[in-house]
């Protein structure tokens, strides 16, 4: 165990939570210099932060790489929109049902997939994700509305709303929290609160005996079995919890934009959350959130750097080399931001497998020379395998 986990206490956890909440809630302020403080993008930060936190509970703690979480995201989205259509525009029933349904779905898929481990588990989840995606597009179109996506309409049933007496408006209603309409800023703060709650839950899981068991499974599952622990319930619970987080993220996507499409369920969307978690640092608390924010930032800001913006940015350069520089940089921004993402991801996996958090830790380690004599050599310590779990 490294120094930070040994010295943790309840106080430092609360401090961490307070700092995180403050950072998230003040995002509109400190994101301004980066040009990222518009509600749409900040909502995405929060939503994918929740998704990545959930995925991290499975992959970061147990080491099981699942490519199927996009299916739970999709289930969450569709459930939320159906709740908007059938029950009420209040977001609480939508979120509740999303989480429950995606949890059930995750239970079924997890029960089957977790019979195998390693790469077979990954391929099983991949197969299930693709199956859900293809079914959503073809057979289940009554439920999912296929390619056009599931949308709200004026004459939806909305039983609960009618029972309470909320009258039908002329235009499409927006999701609300007991009357408070969730648009733009309000929606962002709602998502931010959910993110903080999700972070809190993840924090408690990490520090609990349950989290300890999950880390033990990652370090040596066979030995766990030999010492008499049945690892399957823990794995299934981890899978279900991460599935519920994914469903929660999906429902938040529907809250901010009441439209559910099947392209969210493709396995490449699962690949996106894997990228986010690895980039930020699998197994750490804040890493996935940072990874999610970075990737969404790249996606929205970097992809807006088209030729015009690049030319403006490099105006100061002499005319002879400006086109050359613009062309070269233009390969990596604008439409080519995927290329940058892939390259950064490869570099992270090759050189910095612990993600950004490992980079931070290494830089911090360079400044902390005094303790070298007292801290045992990390690479040979028996806890080195668990060390990366942060």
């Amino acid at each position: 165990m490294n120094a930070s986990t040994l010295s943790r206490s309840a106080t430092s956890d609360w401090v961490l939570l307070a700092l995180f909440s403050a950072a998230v809630l003040t995002m509109p302020i400190w994101l301004a210099p980066f040009g990222a403080n518009y509600p749409d993008l900040m909502q995405k930060f929060a939503i994918f932060g929740v998704f990545a936190i959930g995925f991290n509970i499975l992959f970061g703690l147990t080491g099981y790489l699942s490519f199927g979480h996009a299916a739970f995201l999709g289930v969450g989205s569709y459930t939320a929109v159906w709740s908007f259509k059938l029950l009420s525009m209040n977001v609480l029933p939508a979120i509740l049902f999303s989480v429950v349904l995606s949890g059930l779905f995750a239970c079924v898929i997890g029960f089957i997939s977790l019979r195998r481990s390693g790469i077979y588990f990954s391929i099983l989840t991949l197969a299930f994700a693709q199956m859900s995606y293809k079914l959503a597009y073809s057979v289940l179109t009554p439920i999912t509305n296929g390619e056009s996506g599931l949308q709200l309409s004026l004459n939806d049933a909305r039983v609960l709303d009618a029972a309470v007496g909320i009258e039908v408006t002329r235009s499409l209603p927006t999701p609300n929290l007991f009357g408070l309409e969730l648009r733009d800023e309000a929606a962002f703060y709602f998502c931010a609160v959910v993110l903080i709650l999700a972070f809190f839950i993840a924090l408690r899981i990490f520090r609990s005996p349950f989290g300890m068991m999950l880390r033990a499974i990652k370090s040596n599952q066979t030995r766990m079995a030999y010492t008499g622990f049945n690892t399957r319930p823990y794995l299934i619970w981890a899978f279900v919890i991460s599935g519920m987080f994914a469903g929660l993220a999906g429902s938040l996507m529907a809250v901010t934009d009441p439209l559910a499409g099947a392209e969210r369920m493709q396995w490449t969307a699962s690949g996106e959350v894997v990228l986010m978690t690895i980039l930020g640092g699998a197994g750490t608390l804040i890493g996935p959130v940072i990874g999610a924010a970075l990737i969404k930032y790249f996606e929205n800001i970097l992809s807006a750097f088209n030729a015009g913006a690049l030319n403006r940015a490099f105006e100061a350069l002499p005319d002879s080399i400006q086109p050359f520089v613009v062309d070269t940089v233009g390969l990596f921004v604008g439409d080519g931001w995927h290329l940058t993402l892939g390259l950064v991801f490869m570099l992270v996996v090759i050189f910095l497998p612990g993600g950004i958090m490992e980079g931070v830790r290494r830089i911090g380690g360079m400044f902390r020379r005094e303790d070298r004599a007292s801290v045992p050599n990390r690479s040979t310590a028996p806890g080195a395998a668990i060390d990366s779990a942060g």
Binding site: I112, F128, M131, L135, W267, T268, D335, G342, P353
Partner: protein, 338 residues
């Protein structure tokens, strides 16, 4: 009966593609122990070799259009056709077969570079890390192709002489209405030839013998004094060639677009898993089986009974195999069974 024959041929055709791709994938996994998520990208690169060759052969120049006398009009004519009026059009027409010839060295080079530059450093790392880095590589390759060739599918044409359909009905004794495109038949024969060549190479050459020994027990081969690491590069190149050839031949059937790598990747992994990871015969067998299964599942009669079955049958089979017999159809007992 007609529909049955057509579906069988369809299935064998698709199965040929799946088998070729899965063959390369299982070769890398069995020999190198590397899970290569960039294999779909290699398939896509092969397809874009054909596109690139076509663009190369049709580099055009402006020639005066004689048919318009009203004003001076110019039309784009490929240089080959303009300079060599007889043989030029033939060369342009045969761009896909010419591309096949050039795909072999190109894919060998790409495989060599990939193995030397990246894969080599990941032999000792976990499967998860290999998956992640090759996934990243696949994204990078995909984006580079998209940058240079655009995001739209670029249809390629088979040579004129085989662009039509064969009257297979009359060969087999069925009605004359049963036709099947020539190129697909050629593809089927070609994929069988490549698979046969690979198997022959592995069985009848010393190099192949060492590779097969390495697939069985890599440590032992090292202890016998054979440096199997040096052969890995060539094996990876061979796998890349298999995928590339599958891709380049497939272009008249499916217009290549930058995303086809990812689509075929999932399918090829499913095929490898069903056949048995590390088993070459299993990969080929599973490829053809799943191709035929998918074909039958897309028959209208079958779809009437169980709607949507054609989309999911392959994944259902994969799930069933993974649960009941994880080593696959022809995998070795005890390999990766938990």
């Amino acid at each position: 009966m007609d529909a049955l024959l057509l579906q069988i041929l369809n299935g064998l055709d698709k199965g040929g593609a799946y088998a070729l791709i899965a063959l390369g994938l299982t070769l890398t996994f069995g020999t190198l122990g590397v899970v290569n998520f960039a294999h779909g990208a290699l398939f896509m690169l092969g397809a874009f070799c054909a596109v690139g060759m076509n663009e190369l052969l049709t580099i055009s120049t402006k020639v005066k259009d004689e048919s318009i006398t009203f004003f001076d009009a110019f039309k784009e004519v490929p240089i080959l056709e303009a300079k060599f009026p007889v043989i030029g059009p033939i060369i342009v027409d045969y761009s896909v077969p010419i591309a096949i010839l050039f795909t072999v060295p190109i894919m060998l080079l790409i495989g060599w570079v990939m193995e030397r530059g990246l894969i080599r450093h990941f032999y000792k790392r976990t499967h998860a890390d290999q998956i992640l880095v090759t996934f990243g590589l696949a994204i990078v390759i995909q984006e580079i192709v998209r940058h240079y060739f655009g995001a739209n599918p670029i249809p390629q044409l088979a040579p004129d002489v085989v662009a039509g359909s064969a009257n297979i009905g009359s060969w087999v004794g069925l009605s004359d209405n049963v036709v099947y495109p020539w190129w697909r038949l050629i593809y089927l024969v070609f994929s069988l030839l490549i698979i046969g060549a690979t198997f022959a190479f592995l069985r009848f050459t010393t190099f192949g013998m060492v590779v097969r020994a390495g697939m069985q027990d890599r440590e032992m081969v090292g202890m016998l004094g054979i440096n199997i690491q040096r052969r890995f590069t060539i094996v990876f190149g061979l796998a890349a060639v298999c995928a590339g050839l599958a891709g380049v031949m497939y272009t008249p059937i499916l217009p290549p677009d930058y995303h086809m790598g990812m689509d075929f990747l999932v399918l090829s992994f499913v095929v490898v898993v069903v056949g048995g990871m590390g088993s070459l015969g299993g990969a080929v067998l599973a490829g053809f089986l799943l191709g035929i299964l998918q074909s039958f599942a897309s028959m209208t009669e079958v779809k009437a009974i169980i709607p949507g079955i054609d989309q999911v049958i392959i994944y259902l089979v994969a799930v069933a195999v993974l649960l009941i017999r994880p080593r696959g159809l022809m995998g070795r007992a005890g390999v990766m069974e938990d």
